[in-house]
């Protein structure tokens, strides 16, 4: 059967989630800021129209913000994650398999759905998400994932297709060639800034030129990855849906603090809570960590204050996924590198040497052996269950602390409209 993929992508996802529950934001320019309210990470259509670029630091656009009344939100991850899960759930009813590519993009396997025409199926998908969730999506449809991504780009920019749906499978070859001649090569999936620069030096500036380039030459100059991209641009499907996310080789948890942290006790709380978060992820993928790295950083952007950027890696005697064990080692490591007198700006932990749980090795010196492991597994399972059911952090180590004075700055966080009883949007009966 001929392969057909759809890439469904939410328009201005974070900003759209903010607007969904707040009628006062209709037609208003809205941005969402990164951790610690630093940079613009999402823009509503109105903000894009003002020409404000992605990634610009919020403090740099204060003049525009005042002039145009731009509303800025801190990242409300709980809201975006819930809405993203809902989108995936709706999309899942349209295809037998789906690859969740990012928080706002999914690939669908549409092979065999051509009876009514892929484009009209795309329109149906788009309408369903709009009706059920109030979010706008664009749909790109093509015989390969690389082309589906490009078709999605065309739908979003209005270069081809209509009403946010672009179906390459019904475009004649010459129309496709003409279209590709108008799109810059950097828009192709997997062609980053560096490769774009090198391609341009070879005279390859458009998607069409890349498609028509000699695959052998590209392979020799770059790698098989780029050769595969060319084959995908020709409509030969080389990339399958990755339904299951491969296990991560390392798990990181780090944050910048809202205010500078000086005390060891505050750093300990931060590190313990990062360990809790990281080890929850570790258990979710059924792995054990063999080593932990802990680091703290002063603010490198303030060279006038004393700087200290230590990191330490400790190997565990026995690989573990127990929050208590990992926290104990991480805190011991932290105490080794901590020096008073510095204003710390950031801390982080990394779980390393991950291995699947089933082939774990018992240490010769692990006196408690299997029984203790089984008990730890039960306890950690219960911990994860409770936190999943009642919200992250409901049950936690005492070492994580309660106050979290070091927590990141999120000055204008919208309520958990869909994730918290206290955050529900009130309707007026008046």
């Amino acid at each position: 059967m001929k392969s057909v993929f759809a890439l469904v992508d939410c328009n201005n996802f974070y900003a759209s989630c903010e607007k969904l529950f707040q009628p006062k934001l209709k037609d208003r320019p809205v941005v969402v800021l990164s951790n610690n309210d630093g940079c613009v990470v999402a823009r509503s259509a109105e903000v894009k129209a003002l020409g404000i670029p992605m990634g610009v630091p919020w403090f740099q656009i204060q003049a525009e913000a005042r002039r145009y009344g731009i509303v800025a939100f801190s990242s409300n991850y709980a809201l975006y994650a819930d809405m993203s899960n809902r989108v995936v759930e709706v999309l899942s009813s349209f295809a037998p398999s789906i690859e969740v590519y990012s928080i706002d993009e999914s690939f669908l396997d549409l092979a065999g759905f051509e009876r009514q025409g892929y484009a009209s199926y795309g329109v149906e998908i788009r309408q369903r998400v709009a009706d059920w969730l109030g979010l706008a999506v664009c749909v790109g449809i093509a015989p390969t994932k690389t082309l589906a991504k490009l078709a999605n780009h065309c739908a979003k920019k209005g270069l081809a297709g209509s009403d946010g749906v672009c179906d390459f499978t019904i475009l004649p070859l010459d129309a496709l060639s003409e279209l590709f001649g108008r799109i810059e090569v950097g828009e192709v999936w997997g062609v980053g800034r560096k490769i774009t620069a090198r391609l341009e030096m070879m005279g390859i500036r458009t998607v069409r030129q890349l498609r028509d380039a000699n695959a052998e030459t590209i392979r020799a100059r770059f790698s098989v990855v780029q050769e595969r991209t060319i084959r995908e641009l020709h409509g030969e499907s080389c990339l399958d849906l990755e339904e299951v996310v491969p296990d991560k080789q390392q798990i990181m948890s780090s944050r910048s603090f809202g205010t500078l942290v000086y005390d060891l006790a505050d750093l300990e709380e931060a590190v313990a809570s990062y360990i809790a978060k990281a080890s929850e992820k570790l258990r979710a993928q059924d792995s054990l960590a063999g080593a932990i790295q802990v680091y703290v950083r002063t603010n490198v952007f303030k060279p006038e204050v004393p700087q200290y950027q230590p990191a330490i890696t400790v190997a565990l005697p026995v690989a573990s996924s127990d929050t208590r064990v990992l926290a104990q080692w991480a805190l011991r490591a932290l105490r080794r590198i901590y020096r008073p007198g510095y204003g710390y700006h950031k801390a982080g932990v990394m779980l390393l040497n991950l291995s699947p749980k089933e082939n774990c090795q018992l240490s010769l010196f692990d006196a408690q052996g299997g029984a203790a492991d089984a008990r730890s597994e039960k306890l950690m399972g219960a911990l994860d269950d409770i936190n999943r059911r009642y919200g992250r952090g409901v049950l936690r180590l005492a070492a994580e602390g309660v106050e979290k004075t070091w927590q990141m700055r999120r000055g204008n966080l919208s309520p958990g409209y869909t994730t918290s009883w206290d955050g529900l949007p009130v309707v007026i009966a008046g």
């Binding site: 009706d131 969730l133 109030g134 309707v427």
Partner: protein, 153 residues
Amino acid sequence: MLLMLDARLASIPGVFIPLLDAPRQALPLDAVKVSAGFPSPAADYEDKRLDINEYLVRNPVSTFFFPVQGDSMQGAEIFDGDILVVDRSVRARHGHIVVAFVNGERLVKRLHRRAGLLALVAENPSYPALEIQEGMELEVWGVVVGKFKRLVG
């Protein structure tokens, strides 16, 4: 396990007072499982316990909750403090109670759409109907399919 019995309580069968610093012995759950002689006569009739979600929420993916503030919908038995169950997968029709966004406000009203007249109607005589005219912004956000309220904190 070492237990010290209080003299007065020791005479009552089954009462043990452990020492404050007595070592604790956790019993695995399996150890307290009772093995019954006969299978339960109800086993064949076992059914899933009722789940209020099933009753109130037919389509979880498109369902959202909105607490109510105000008394304009009393006639429809929607009171201040109730939490509305709003299902976006239900297509809004004439007569449905809806959550609507009008001129920057989130409202709950009955949708009136008949004979070229579009209006949001209250269910309380002290509130006039809100007729939607040219130039007004109306977004019917979702249909109210139920409500709930917890009475004890």
